[in-house]
Amino acid sequence: MSRLLDWQLATVTAIRPETPHVKTFTLRLPQWTAHRAGQHYDLRLTAPDGYQAERSYSVASPPEQTGEIELTVELIAEGEVSGYLFDGVAVGDQLEVRGPIGGYFVWPAGPPDAPLLLVAGGSGVVPLMAMLRHRQRTGLRNLAVLLFSVRTPEEVIYRQELEALAAADPSFTLLLTYTRQAPPGWAGYRRRLDAAMLAEAVAHLPGPPQCYVCGPTGLVESAATLLQAQGLPDAAIRTERFGPTGG
């Protein structure tokens, strides 16, 4: 057994609401190890009768935030694990986790100064946020776009931080699209991801980008296919499905 992938008892040091159905849990780890932006941890709950449930959660914090990780969790209807995390866990409680895990959906995977296109649907933004935070902390100014599809304004996870980042960093462009309801006076996109939207996102960048797509299956499948159709090579399009499967 490798030591670093053993289960460890983390302590919850902060719980922050992001949206009505999303919270970020900060966990202090006794055996912290630097992750790569995009990796996840497994979290395990154990009942008194020995029943165990496990789920994977992407790390939202950058590796520069040492000694702890932030996991951003979406409350799933009837979710066994997310329901317990939302209602049964308080600051000071302990949770079993192991990680970091996953070696493919990570940034950077090539030259870190290559243009970066991030495409998110809903809580699929979480691993992409780790990439943006890592990029900011390392001072990289490669041109980067986040195309973020949400249903309603109240569901924009990390809204303040993303808007502040876009305002402070001219090399980063935030493109939001609201698929059900846009805020009053909204002049931006208000439709599902489509070819024109992805072409405009790519046009913000000086050359072929490295692409990371994360969200529900339908969005990931369609965005990846549309990016292929833009002429991007398959190897430049990394995908991860994210979202409710019952957890």
Binding site: Q39, G88, G246
Partner: protein, 214 residues
């Protein structure tokens, strides 16, 4: 004394007709997980190969392959991302049927499944024999959809589902075990869900430095 999360209890019944491997939960969905875009393979260009440590490599066109004897399979499947799905309904060609068409060299002990789009996954040959594996061509009475690995997907239900390679192009027989795509990215070389072999460091023979691949 194992750690207990106070107040945590199973929300779903855990004593049904089907058994869940440790850490898994049942989903009625059929989630789609891939590392990149879904390849679309025109059937006129499709072919399936058995190669490597065989006396004579074999190649089928789509028309030849889909004319092989098919069977129904109704396995429970288990994904390393924690979901399991019971009673999936497939039709396909048993690996036992395919293996009747080649004479393997005696040193063939492992298999690399390779796919359109470049995906690979490694398996012990013994895990593909004796009714344990098939190439699925139909799911729920319809041709297998591209996002689920169509036109043809390897299905090895007793191992985690990443071993069930989508968009199959062929099998290469090998003497030594070599890591495929996810295995090279830190996942288990065998992936037995009942032993919870999720990651390389869960393998019985994992080297101490296994975590460096993650």
């Amino acid at each position: 004394m194992p750690f207990i999360n106070k107040g945590f209890h199973a929300k779903r019944p855990t004593d049904g007709a089907h058994k869940l491997p440790p850490g898994q939960y049942e989903t009625p969905d059929f989630p789609v997980l891939t590392a990149g875009p879904t390849p679309r393979i025109p059937l006129v260009n499709w072919e399936f190969r058995l190669e490597g440590l065989v006396e004579n490599p074999v190649k089928w066109s789509w028309n030849e392959f889909s004319a092989l004897p098919m069977q129904s399979f109704n396995p429970d499947i288990h994904c390393v991302t924690k979901w399991s799905k019971f009673d999936t309904k497939w039709r396909g060609v048993s690996l036992d049927t395919l293996l009747e068409h080649v004479q393997l060299k005696p040193e063939a002990k492992f298999v690399m499944a390779f796919s359109y789009g470049g995906y690979t996954t490694n398996l012990p040959l013994a895990d593909l024999r004796n009714g344990q594996a098939f190439i699925g061509l139909e799911y729920d009475g319809k041709p297998l959809a591209p996002e689920h690995g169509g036109p043809a997907r390897l299905v090895v239900p007793h191992l985690y589902f990443w071993k069930s390679a989508k968009w199959m192009q062929g099998l290469r027989f090998m003497a030594e075990n070599e890591p495929g795509f996810w295995e090279d990215n830190g996942y288990s070389m065998r992936g037995d869900p009942w032993k919870e072999e999720r990651y390389r460091s869960d393998d019985p023979d994992a080297p101490d430095e296994a975590h460096f691949r993650l």
